[in-house]
């Protein structure tokens, strides 16, 4: 256990050995609030840390430490089995994706090895992410590289994964990530450079491609780059995106011509955005300005009409930012809400520091 309390800040910190980008909530663990974090080191032996928040919430305990063959660019915990997770990794020259299982006897082993359940080895190019359906048991998986999107059927007991279908986004689009709609098992959003495409998994065709940024800017050169996307688990059709320079946008997919709300985002790029799993309107964003911002985009203002007067709208805007956590030394790339204790979130800055914070003191009276 390497937990330590932070002086001055409310967060609970934990140091990984190397630089890192990925942290994931272990949703299937109903007994403890736990997270998985993977390191990003080109030359050293990378690790996956299983972290658990002590029952008092004052300590972060390392429950397991597993070596991982390559540096980890993406990590996602299986929503229905706490011992299973997926990673996307790179040797520096090539990319790979795999499903792993935490060994059952890891408590007794000195250096426990992760069991590889399956390799998602149909990709050629740079793999971006592996997606699990967030809302329950589903034996399907999605993986994306820059050009293609794959739908897999996963069989954990037989340790195998099969490609069910595959499609290409087209040469013009370079996919960078995505999110699986928690309200619809057949809908997936994939971010391109300046657009979000929506795929129907039944036909494996992307029906609508919402050119998010072109709709708000005329000049096609000055497009922002979409870095992150997340569905609102509490309200259907609501999607949020994080963009390099232009901050955070809230979209209603039924009328996707213009965002329903804009949040200023970060001083530098906004890297990741996450909707709270329980409280509608609570949004967390992480940025390369070494900060995590907590926003409140209330339902009323999400439905909003044009702001009545300029004075009002500025006042409103100020109130949207509930808090800015700035006690980081480097860019923050990893961000995850806890689904067990939805007022708790974990953040991971590039220097390998995990910080768990509670948003309770900043919540508006709902």
């Amino acid at each position: 256990a390497q937990a330590r309390m932070q002086g001055g800040s409310s967060g609970i910190g934990y140091g990984l050995k190397y630089q890192a980008r990925c942290i994931s909530d272990v949703k299937a663990d109903t007994d403890y609030t736990s997270f998985l974090a993977g390191t990003l080191s080109l030359k050293e032996e990378n690790e996956v840390h299983l972290l658990r928040l002590s029952s008092g919430g004052s300590e972060l305990i390392c429950e397991g430490l597993f070596s991982h063959p390559n540096e980890i660019w993406d990590l996602a915990s299986c929503p229905f089995d706490q011992r299973i997770f997926s990673t996307v990794f790179s040797t520096g020259e090539s990319f790979g994706a795999a499903i792993w299982q935490i060994p059952e006897l890891y408590g007794q082993l000195n250096s426990p090895q992760l069991e590889r359940v399956a390799s998602l080895d149909a990709h050629v190019g740079k793999i971006n992410c592996v997606l699990w359906w967030p809302s329950g048991r589903c034996d399907k998986l999605i993986s994306m590289d820059e050009q293609n999107i794959f739908l897999w059927s996963l069989d954990c007991s037989n340790k195998s994964a099969e490609v069910l279908s595959k499609d290409s986004a087209g040469m013009l689009h370079s996919l960078s990530g995505g999110a699986w709609d928690p309200h619809d098992v057949n809908a997936v959003a994939a971010t391109g450079e300046s657009s979000v495409q929506f795929w129907d998994l039944r036909t494996m065709k992307y029906g609508i491609s919402v050119d998010l940024l072109c709709s708000q800017k005329v000049n096609s050169i000055e497009r922002a780059h979409v870095r992150g996307v997340d569905y609102n688990p509490k309200r259907e059709h609501i999607l949020i995106t994080a963009e390099d320079e232009s901050g955070i946008h809230v979209w209603d997919l039924r009328k996707a011509k213009a965002p329903v709300q804009e949040l200023p985002g970060h001083t530098h790029w906004t890297w990741a955005v996450k909707c709270n799993p329980e409280y509608d309107g609570l949004i967390l964003s992480a940025g390369t300005d070494s900060a995590v911002n907590l926003w409140y985009a209330s339902a009323s203002s999400t439905n909003n009409k044009a702001p009545e007067s300029p004075v009002e709208s500025t006042r409103e805007r100020v109130n949207l930012l509930l808090n800015s956590y700035t006690d980081y030394e480097d860019s923050v790339y990893g961000l995850a809400w806890s689904s067990r204790e939805p007022w708790v979130f974990a953040s991971l800055s590039y220097d390998g520091r995990v910080v768990i914070e509670s948003v309770k003191p900043f919540l508006p009276r709902l």
């Binding site: 080191s41 005329v218 050169i221 320079e245 300005d289 300029p310």
Partner: protein, 745 residues
């Protein structure tokens, strides 16, 4: 009794004392202390104890003394006895005489009552008689007095009637028709009743005089040379003389309606009017300008309306209609007028004229609610004007931009901005905002809202980074100069507290927020553009299979060019941050030391990364970070050239670092980054004042690259230097040929 007592003085005195002591209340109460103080031998004291006195006497005295005392006492007792007898007698005597007196009084009073009754009765009868006399005389007296008054009055009337013709003639001569009418109407009833009697001649003469007066008045009423007021008076007089005036009224109102045409503001001449209005405000001598004429005309019109209103109270509705019509045509003409391109000053000139007209009319006809009507109309017109100004502004900008496209090679981008800055409403909107006429106070909020909305609409249609900057600066100007000025003027003119509609603090805040947002937007747009350059640069090559660096990559040129553009725009629009500049030249020495320190630090890091112990390297990097002063990368942007440039450069370098972190490099890839960054160092430091931060960020890029590199072997300094010199030489040569070839953007 006193006379009796006079010879026996001693005795009488004693007697009186005793009597008085008998009638006074108990002396022991009145003088208690004196009796207590007396000794035992005071035989008259109240506390005298006879036994004790005896004892004392017997003990103290011998027989002789006792005997003597006995004799003395016996004498005293005898004396007292006589006194007592005397007293009793005296008392009795007094009682007897008192009884006698009372008896006598009783007999005297008897019989007086009868006399008194008789007296009262007589007095009553006298009074009733006097009342009777009074009442019988009263009626007659009253009557006499009344008759007397009537006689006096009649005498006066007679005098007045007899004098009337002469008086009327006098009035005609002096044209005092008002008086004449007054006299005549006063005499009228008398003449009517007694006209056939002795007043016959008088009546005829007066009627003749009045005929003349009526004739005179009528000519006056219709003569245009007379003032409207005079004519109105004439109308009033005629009305008093029972001359039918309704036909007159119609005629007059028609005339008034006709005069409306003359009051209209001709759209074609409006600008002249406005000009004169403005100039006549500046030079008071210029009184004969068309504006003045117009003003006089309107003043006359409103006076006429005032007069008519008094003369013909039933004509109010029609007058309202007239005033409304005039106001409406004013605004209609205004709309026609602003269809052409009109400067804000002219617009405001006309606006002021109209407002003054409205105020004039409003004074006369407050019920017509002209100010409400015109406020509404003005709102519409103003809205149109603002919209038009924006379209004109847009037109201007697109014109200049078009020109710019054609002569792209010659015209510097910034010049366009300057044109825009001047044309762009800066003057215009400021003037609009400056306006402190009452109506504007009412509508200031709305106005600002529109302008803001205009800006917003503007944004979505035309994105030009420089323009955003202009708008940002404009907002600052509005916030810092315009609003305080308006506030000042408003407080100056409405000290009463009418200024709730205009809250300068709130507006300042709005504009402040807008300006910050705009500035942020400018920086965002700019950095976004640069980010695109960078993204292309990092996405295109395969960094793991990079070839040995041969020259500084050309994206560096593009980056510097973009930054130069930012610098140019910023220089022309934003003010210099004098303070920072000053500080910089002052502390030149210390600056070089910090930069040298950070370069040594940098080479340290390089040496370590050479040793390839990545684990400890990370640790060391962290350690170094701890000890190095944390550089504030993301400071608040200020409205100065330096701050904006610095912020932009910082954000770009941070983006560069982030792009590097997303890649994996082989040795040559890393060396390429090293070379490019080394080259950037000098020009960036030239453009940015915060050298330490730039050093830090450039180092961070190198560190990021080394972390992401599979085989970190930096270029040898001589090779690095050689490649940089080659690049410098090339760009120098390039600059020489610059007139023909520009770097493709």
């Amino acid at each position: 009794m006193a006379t009796e007592a006079a010879p026996m003085d001693e005795k009488a005195k004693r007697m009186r004392d005793l009597l008085s002591s008998f009638y006074t209340p108990d002396p022991s109460i009145s003088t208690p202390t004196s009796s207590i103080s007396t000794s035992f031998d005071n035989i008259n004291g109240p506390s005298f104890d006879a036994d004790q006195y005896m004892d004392l006497m017997i003990k103290k005295s011998n027989l002789d003394v006792l005997l003597q005392r006995h004799v003395q006492m016996a004498a005293e007792i005898k004396n007292l006895d006589t006194d007592l007898q005397m007293l009793v007698y005296e008392n009795y005597n007094k009682f007897i005489s008192a009884t006698d007196t009372i008896k006598r009084m009783k007999s005297n009073i008897f019989g007086m009552e009868g006399n008194m009754d008789q007296l009262l009765h007589k007095i009553m009868s006298v009074q009733s008689r006097s009342d009777g006399v009074n009442t019988s005389l009263f009626e007659k007296r009253e009557h006499i007095e009344k008759l007397h008054r009537t006689r006096n009055l009649l005498r006066k009337v007679q005098q007045f009637i007899y004098d009337l013709p002469a008086r009327l003639q006098k009035c005609i001569k002096s044209e005092a028709y008002g008086d004449a009418v007054r006299f005549y109407t006063g005499a009228m009833p008398i003449l009517k009743v007694y006209g056939d009697t002795s007043f016959k001649d008088c009546r005829r003469a007066s009627e003749e005089a009045i005929e003349t007066i009526i004739k005179n008045l009528q000519t006056k009423l219709f003569s245009d040379s007379e003032s409207i007021q005079a004519r109105a008076e004439a109308a009033v007089l005629l009305k008093q003389l029972d001359v039918p005036v309704d036909s007159l009224k119609d005629k007059l109102l028609e005339k008034l309606e006709q005069s409306l045409d003359g009051l209209q503001i001709n759209p074609d001449e409006a600008s002249k009017l406005a000009e004169h209005n403005v100039s006549s405000k500046d030079e008071e001598s210029n009184n004969q300008g068309p504006a003045k004429i117009h003003e006089d005309a309107v003043r006359g019109f409103s006076e006429a309306m005032r007069a008519y209103r008094e003369i013909f109270p039933d004509s109010e509705e029609r007058l309202f209609k007239l005033a409304r019509a005039l106001t409406t045509t004013h605004f209609e003409n205004m709309e026609l007028y602003i269809r052409k391109r009109v400067s804000a000053a002219d617009f405001l000139g006309i606006f002021r004229i109209i407002w003054e007209d409205v105020v004039l009319m409003d004074e006369v006809l407050p019920e017509a609610a002209l100010s409400d009507l015109s406020a509404e109309a003005a709102q519409v017109t103003l809205k149109q004007f603002v919209a038009r100004t924006f379209s004109h502004l847009q037109q201007d900008i697109s014109d200049t931009l078009l020109k710019f496209d054609i002569n792209q090679k010659e015209v510097v981008d910034g010049e366009v901005l300057k044109v825009v800055l001047e044309a762009s409403g800066k003057a215009e909107f400021r003037q609009l905002l400056d306006e402190n006429t009452g109506i504007f106070v009412k509508m200031n909020d709305l106005l600002i809202g529109w302008i803001q909305k205009g800006f917003q609409d503007f944004f979505s249609e035309k994105i030009h980074a420089g323009l955003i900057l202009v708008l940002a600066q404009l907002s600052v100007v509005i916030e810092q100069k315009v609003i305080p000025r308006i506030a000042e003027e408003i407080t100056a003119s409405f000290s009463g507290g009418n200024s709730q509609a205009f809250i300068p603090g709130e507006l300042c805040r709005v504009f402040h927020a807008a300006s910050e947002k705009l500035l942020q937007h400018y920086i965002d747009t700019r950095t976004q553009k640069i980010s695109n350059v960078l993204r292309k640069r990092f996405k295109t090559p395969n960094w793991v299979k990079h070839k040995e660096p041969r020259e500084v990559h050309m994206y560096v040129d593009m980056l510097l060019q973009q930054l130069e553009e930012v610098g140019k725009e910023v220089k022309q629009i934003l003010p210099q941050g004098t303070f920072r500049k000053h500080k910089r030249s002052d502390s030149n020495g210390s600056n070089t030391t910090t930069s040298s320190r950070s370069t040594t630090l940098h080479s340290d890091k390089m040496a370590r990364s050479n040793s390839q112990r990545a684990r400890s390297q990370l640790f060391e990097t962290h350690l170094a970070k701890l000890f190095k002063q944390k550089v504030e990368i993301f400071t608040k942007v200020e409205f100065t050239q330096e701050s904006v440039v610095t912020t932009t450069v910082k954000l770009c370098l941070k983006s560069l670092q982030e792009y590097v972190r997303l890649q994996t490099f082989n040795r040559s890839g890393f060396q390429q980054i090293q070379l490019d960054i080394q080259f950037l160092k000098a020009p960036l430091k030239e453009t940015v004042e915060d050298e330490a931060a730039i050093d830090f960020l450039l180092d961070e890029v190198i560190v990021a690259a080394s972390e992401r590199c599979l085989d970190v072997t930096p270029l040898e300094p001589p090779i690095l230097d050689k490649l940089i010199q080659a690049k410098l030489a090339k760009s120098k040569e390039h600059n020489n040929n610059n007139n023909k070839t520009t770097v493709s953007s």
